[in-house]
Symmetry: C2
Subunit: 458 residues, 2 copies
């Protein structure tokens, strides 16, 4: 399934592009003006230009082939817009406009009609009732919200507002997405088909789904089974509790269904289950790293407390602390101060500099009993130190050893560790801020290694 025309279109028409800053069509067109990989045309029935760009009365008037249309006109004009798009030969349309299936039976009928019209032209739909779609790898922001940070997670959300909230939150936290896809009512394209497309893309390292309800469970399972063999899929299911499920059904009009059924379906198809938004993001972020061959984790830290908390979380997730070889501990003893703990978790104590991080990471990665490394750094308490040198030490060790073992960072110092985190991320090493989050990442890598038969040691 190739949906490139939704995410790498040569030309986009914004039907309902506006000069009025109070309208969504204003934001969408403004955001899309940054798009670099193709042309963007405003369609507006009244104005000659939109935000300084020549506008067209109808998508059919555009003197160019158009792959993608973003529809933000009032509801009563949507049907005609779809017909116009079909006549124009548009391949995909994102319907941001709301007021369809989520309002009841009448709306559901109208929605089905839109799909029928689209299909009769060979056109596919995302939405209606959504925030739009983004591809951070080519600066395509076809939504009315702020740009997500560029990253490696394809995030598909059934709740537009929650999706938007998550984009805003991740911008603040420095977490990146490759794509953000607000699917709205999923009148046409659904989780299954989007997953299938995302399974083969280069820039999406993991697929994260926020799910309220899946309509065709069989199709979801069948496709997920194939996809998870190639790429990790992480699902956050809302409406697990009875009250939550009731709330979900009133929200999207889809039946939330029993959590037990979903849980079994996810398990059967290799979909990783997230408990919270941060759990979902933490798992998905891990996949810029290779999959581990086993579940024995080495922890290195410059402070005892975080090492202890991380050991607890690792244990909670069913992973194991690696038993280091005597040789490794001897090596560590040779350069760490006497106060340091050379047993796993290795506590290099607060005096540890970048060089200690480098040598410790190297020794741990070379230990055959270690499948995976978690490198922790809290505020260096010695004047003149910044966590950047610690990040550099880790990166140097990883590059030098280069034996395919995953490495995750845990840098716990708010603003103080931001630069170090960015440095790690730029080198493909996910850097977390909370023990439970780094443990979620480690767990996800192990689960996906299990899914794909990479895990040797059980």
């Amino acid at each position: 399934m190739n949906l490139d025309y939704f995410f790498k279109p040569k030309a986009i028409a914004v039907i309902g592009a506006s000069n009025d800053p109070m309208k969504l069509g204003y934001e969408v067109f403004k955001n899309l003006k940054k798009y670099k990989d193709g042309r963007v045309y405003p369609v507006n029935v009244k104005d000659e230009t939109v935000q300084g760009v020549k506008a067209y009365k109808n998508v059919r008037d555009i003197p160019d082939e158009v792959d993608l249309a973003i529809i933000v006109v009032p509801k009563r004009f949507v049907k005609q817009a779809i017909i116009d798009c079909g006549e124009k030969g548009v391949k995909g349309a994102v319907i941001i406009t709301a007021g369809f299936g989520e309002t009841g039976e009448e709306g559901k009928k109208e929605e089905r009609e839109l799909v029928e019209i689209a299909h009769s032209y060979g056109m596919r739909l995302i939405g209606p009732n959504c925030v739009g779609v983004m591809n951070t790898h080519n600066d395509m922001n076809a939504t009315f919200i702020m740009d997500a940070k560029k990253g490696s997670i394809a995030f598909v959300s059934q709740s537009g507002a929650l999706g938007a909230g998550i984009v805003y939150k991740t911008v603040k936290e420095g977490i990146g997405f490759s794509k953000f896809i607000s699917v709205g009512n999923m009148a046409d394209l659904d989780f299954a088909e989007l997953m299938e497309y995302l399974a083969d893309t280069e820039e999406d390292k993991a697929i994260a789904l926020y799910i309220e309800g899946v309509r065709d469970g069989r199709k979801f399972i069948e496709i997920a089974k194939r996809v998870t063999k190639r790429k990790p899929v992480i699902a956050l299911k809302a409406g697990k509790s009875e009250s939550g499920a009731r709330a979900a059904s009133s929200h999207t009009g889809s039946l939330a269904g029993s959590w037990k059924i979903y849980e079994a379906a996810f398990k059967q198809s290799g979909v990783l289950v997230a408990e919270t938004i941060d759990d979902m993001l933490s798992m998905a972020r891990a996949f810029t790293q290779p999959l581990p061959k086993g579940k024995r984790v080495a922890i290195m830290t410059n402070a005892g407390g975080p090492g202890v908390l991380t050991a607890d979380e690792i244990d909670k997730r069913g992973l194991k602390l690696a038993n280091l070889e005597e040789k490794t501990m001897e090596e560590l003893r040779s350069f760490l101060p006497p106060m340091a703990a050379v047993k796993n978790p290795v506590d290099m104590i607060a005096s540890a500099r970048g060089e200690d991080y480098y040598r410790t990471a190297k020794a741990l990665l070379e230990d055959p009993n270690v499948d995976m490394l978690i490198a922790i750094c809290v505020v260096p308490t010695f004047a003149g130190m910044t966590p950047t040198e610690h990040a550099e030490g880790i990166i140097r060790a990883v590059k030098e050893v280069n034996n395919g073992k995953p490495v995750l960072g845990l840098f716990m110092a708010g603003y103080v560790s931001e630069k170090a985190k960015e440095l790690l991320e730029a080198n493909g090493i996910p850097s977390y801020e909370r023990p439970e989050d780094v443990a979620a990442g480690a767990y996800a890598l192990v689960q996906q290694a299990r899914n794909t038969g990479v895990l040797e040691d059980e």
Copy 2:
């Protein structure tokens, strides 16, 4: 137990205050220069002045009464410093210097000697091997780390580095502390005595403890039992797992002990158990609100997804979604749009403005079936709206109804909702960013209501 001399001293001596930015004594004195409620004197054996302030060779030379000494000299000088403080009539000393009990038996012996000397003068000690103490309510930062944000949580940490990491993290996240107390090896003052002191202070609304190991369990339980009747105590215990416990014991030299024993002790004494750092902070932050009479929660939101996730988390915590009275739902129907859901969770949908938040919050707080309100706001998706008006609506309703029911906010939009969150916090309404965190807050309020006999509805 009055320990005001540690947190509201009239005069402080910094023994080891330094002009060398590479030394901890430099940072400590620099931080303390901002102290407004008393005088601060540098003690330095060599320099005439420290950071432009006249210095004294010995604490005994200071021509003023000194209540508190902060000791940051090299280890070999600590014992004499304690003797000098005793002779001077100092009431409390914080020993930042490390190298004592955490290094083994010899260090433990030296530590005990320090305590004996201090007690012989009627002086009490915090530390050694700690980061220091802070009181944000009088700008006293007697540590070598950055100022915490002012707030209502007294945070006592057995890990200095983790404590520092948490201070840095909370500054970024806008979470405030009333006090930060790094207790280090707890050679003298321990969790129990500090809790006892904190139970009676006005500015500390909750006591949060990061615990690796408690030496005198019986004393802890006995005092905690009394304290939790007056003020909530929330404990995050590291070393719950076997591997974590092993790591903890090598870190502080204290026996982490079996988690089952701690769990029973916490339960018996009314101490609330936190699972993670954020869990601890989320619980502790709730106590600027009154305790609820029951566990029936009303949720209001401008987006379905977050309402569903919060309903799930509320359920997970054993709380209940309130069944709204018919009258309340009628009232909501009278002004909310037809698409809104007037059943709990009340989904006011994305068009909700400040006035809708006000009227909805008012109606929910006035419903006799509601014990507690969670008000959710995600990015308003309509141009020209900012979450500030939503926060204002909530605040207005709370002030007007004023019937003692707790209200918690969940504002999920990163930078976009920062101002709204600040506004809520300034009005004593804790504002969270994650569904699980607001649920932790709600849970903590109910548990403390149970502890203190306020909970009527079980």
